[in-house]
């Protein structure tokens, strides 16, 4: 028995010398003759298998999530368009009756439709926003007035879904698309007057109640403005707090008390910070409701404790010899911190900050209380303009009853995930590039 242990120890030490893991799993799988040894090896095997099983389960959930999002959302990046013969009649343009122009050209495509209900179905083939598109064309190039030209106009969301054959069964069953509409679309497709195009609208528009017009621009910009305010407030405050507590404050019951509170705050449910923001920022300071300024300030409260803890850990990791050396050369305590300790701790601090920003980026609950969970169509221009954020946009679209929003929701999640991956990659890059091992 002793021999076996000796042998194992020797093998393990040799492997460590060669910078390999000291464990050799293979040798355990051989059936030893001792019963106790077999039992121990079986235990080892069981644990390993459980680990692999757990990873597989986690991977399965991740894969099904990604698959679900992707299969629902990929089609949102294209939109169906209809080629319309548009006659830019001067008198109609003068009256601003662009809707009438659109209706005329649809009736020209499919002549002989008299019935009111059929007409309505015909007009709902194309996006409700079509008149505004014509208006823009006329504004950009007034020479089109009086002429007739072919214009590609986005189709309505239901038609788009039908044409893409995605969620088609649902669209048909729900009666969103009628038999005559099916006939018209098939006809248009046959004559090549319908096409699929990259859906630029999705990246150029804000929120809309028409699925084919809804986009993520406003919420993306809102997200970045919110995060900017959040960094501007949380980074200096958090780092300064941590430096003072770690490097200057004398240890007393008071600093202990502060430390316990900071650790506690890091675990407080985020909606509570929203309530705090509502009562302090909105009701006492009178800052504008729904603005990215208030949103960022609330999220700053949320990540402040996390930044303090990360910064303190990073400062603790800097060996005292650095501080002693600086002090021995005559540096004042402030110089020691700002010229030496902080510089070496910075990669660690940055990693902590970036990861907490990723958390703030995905928050919706605290924003609910301060009015950022709202229908906001305009792109925010200043920090006091009303704004939403990307996760809020996902939440709002998921609540919309129209079928077209199913794919938009999934597509918005994809955009959100892309930003998340980028932020995390940045954190990993900074850690790899600048980290100092002592």
């Amino acid at each position: 028995m002793i021999k076996i242990f000796e042998r194992r120890t020797r093998i393990a030490m040799n492997r460590v010398k060669k910078k390999k893991s000291p464990f050799i799993y293979k040798s355990y799988s051989k059936k030893p003759k001792h019963k106790w040894l077999r039992k121990r090896n079986a235990q080892e095997q069981r644990f390993k298998r459980t680990g692999v099983f757990c990873i597989l389960i986690a991977f399965f959930f991740l894969a099904s999530l990604v698959w679900n999002i992707f299969s629902n959302g990929y089609s949102a990046f294209t939109e169906a368009q209809i080629n319309l013969p548009v006659e830019f009649q001067a008198e109609l343009i003068e009256d601003d009756a662009y809707r009438k122009i659109i209706q005329n050209s649809l009736l020209e495509l499919f002549p002989g439709i008299e019935d009111r209900k059929e007409k309505r179905e015909l007009f709902s083939l194309i996006s409700r926003n079509a008149p505004h598109i014509l208006e823009k064309i006329v504004e950009e190039d007034p020479t089109v007035i009086g002429r007739k030209s072919m214009v590609w106009i986005p189709a309505s969301s239901a038609v788009s879904i039908f044409y893409k054959q995605h969620l088609y069964e649902q669209a048909k069953r729900s009666g969103k698309i009628s038999t005559s509409q099916v006939a018209w679309v098939t006809d248009l497709a046959r004559t090549q007057n319908m096409r699929l195009k990259f859906n630029a609208t999705f990246f150029k528009n804000g929120d809309s109640r028409e699925a084919e017009q809804a986009g993520v621009l406003a919420s993306t910009i809102g997200s970045f403005m919110t995060i900017l305010v959040c960094i501007a407030m949380a980074f200096p405050l958090g780092v300064a707090t941590a430096i003072y507590l770690e490097e200057f404050a004398r240890k007393s019951w008071f600093t202990d008390f502060i430390e316990i509170n900071i650790n506690n705050l890091a675990a407080v449910p985020s909606i509570i910070f929203g309530l705090l923001g509502l009562s302090i920022y909105l009701n006492i300071f009178g800052l504008p409701r729904s603005s990215s300024l208030v949103g960022g300030m609330v999220l700053a409260l949320l990540i402040l404790p996390v930044i303090v803890i990360a910064t303190r850990n990073a400062l603790q990791a800097v060996p005292p010899s650095i501080r002693y050396a600086a002090a021995a050369l005559g540096a004042t305590p402030t110089q020691v911190v700002f010229h030496h300790t902080l510089i070496y701790a910075l990669p660690g601090i940055m990693t902590g900050v970036i990861l907490s920003i990723a958390r703030a980026f995905g928050e919706t609950a605290p924003l609910l209380m301060i009015g950022m969970v709202a229908f906001i169509a305009d792109v925010p221009k200043t920090f006091t303009d009303p704004a939403t954020t990307l996760p809020v946009q996902v939440y709002l679209w998921a609540n919309n009853p129209e079928l077209g929003f199913v794919e938009k929701t999934a597509a918005a999640i994809m955009v959100l995930l892309t930003f998340m991956v980028l932020i995390n990659l940045l954190a990993i890059y900074i850690r790899r590039r600048f980290e100092i091992k002592w």
Partner: protein, 338 residues
């Protein structure tokens, strides 16, 4: 490294141009049932005028009035949506905070439906049966006892032998208020057992509104879409929500027949379907002329193109007002804005 730190801090500080601009957006709060309609009007208004698109928050009717009545001035919402008329207590709250003049506008009607998955058979219920299935206390042999009914067949032998399971809105919701009033109260206020137990009308009304809390009625939050999804995965269950959601999810769920009438657009607008309620919009008169575009937006809300018989809101499932009532509402706005 030092430079990076300083540039970073400088960047962050520079990124704070805090020019405070006065709120130029119309702010709207309130019912999640009215939200899908008012947002459409808001968007149309933003597209067709030079004013900013109004901001619409879906807070529930009660939550909306709380914000709306908190005070006058640009800090507070201009408009509150409601799926029921304002309560006296809310009017008092408003008056206490200096919001004295408010205008009530009826936008249209919405039916409340009890729907289940299309995978199962359609239910046909009466209000009494719904009451017996969902009330906290029901009369048994002339006495009030805790609701003993477990399956629909316990309520009435003609109903299927299926567990009672109903997803519905919480108490903060206007849909819930309307449901309590139109179904529960109607079915129970004249029951002799209730009359005997609660001689006082007000107390009786309150106890009629109580729904059972033993897991048969499940509060599903303010999110009607969530209820529709739950019905999809649980074909036995019924869900309570607004007609507009049934209209948009007609592929997955079907509305139960109540009192022999199916919930359809026509049946609700002609009043034959028994559970329908009015949708309201409340305007703060003091904000007219102060919030940019308030007057114009109010006019757009109730215009023929929006709320009329063939208006764009009817495409979204709103059941429009009769022509005459619409006229009255429009006149109310014109009078207001003169």
């Amino acid at each position: 490294m030092k430079k990076t730190l300083y540039t970073f801090i400088a960047l962050v500080v520079l990124a704070l141009p805090l020019q405070a601009q006065a709120g130029t957006n119309i702010q709207i709060v309130g019912s999640s049932t009215v939200y899908p309609f008012v947002t459409v009007t808001a968007e149309e208004f933003g597209n067709n005028t030079d004013f900013n698109t109004p901001i619409v928050e879906s807070t529930g009717t009660g939550g909306g009035f709380k914000l709306f009545c908190a005070g006058a001035g640009e800090m507070h919402p201009d408009i509150s949506n409601a799926s029921r008329a304002i309560k006296q207590s809310e009017e008092k709250l408003c008056a206490k905070n200096g919001v004295k003049d408010i205008t009530e506008i009826k936008l249209g009607y919405d039916g409340i439906v009890l729907a289940n998955s299309k995978k199962a058979d359609r239910y046909s219920l009466s209000k009494e049966q719904i009451f017996l299935a969902l009330a906290k206390k029901v009369p048994v042999d002339g006495k009030l006892v805790d609701n003993p009914n477990q399956n629909w067949s316990d309520v009435d032998a003609s109903l299927p032998n299926v567990k009672i399971e109903v997803y519905g809105p919480p108490t903060t919701s206007g849909t819930r208020d309307a449901f309590s009033e139109l179904v529960m109260e109607k079915a129970c206020k004249d029951l002799p057992a209730f009359k005997a137990a609660f001689p006082d009308k007000k107390v009786r009304k309150k106890s009629c509104h109580l729904l059972r809390e033993d897991g048969r009625y499940i509060e599903a939050g303010e999110n009607d879409n969530l209820i529709v999804q739950k019905l999809q995965s649980n074909p036995q269950a019924l869900g309570i929500f607004g007609f507009s959601f049934l209209d948009q999810s007609g592929d997955i769920v079907q509305g139960s027949i109540v009192g022999g009438i199916e919930p359809t657009f026509d049946n609700i607008s002609n009043g034959s379907y028994g559970i329908s309620r009015s949708l309201y919009v409340y305007l703060k008169n003091a904000h007219i002329g102060k919030t940019a575009g308030f007057k114009e937006f109010a006019t757009e809300l109730i215009s023929d193109e929006a709320a009329g018989e063939f208006g764009y809101l009817s495409e979204k499932g709103l059941i429009p007002l009769p022509a005459e009532e619409l006229k009255t509402m429009q006149q109310r706005i014109t009078k207001l804005t003169q």
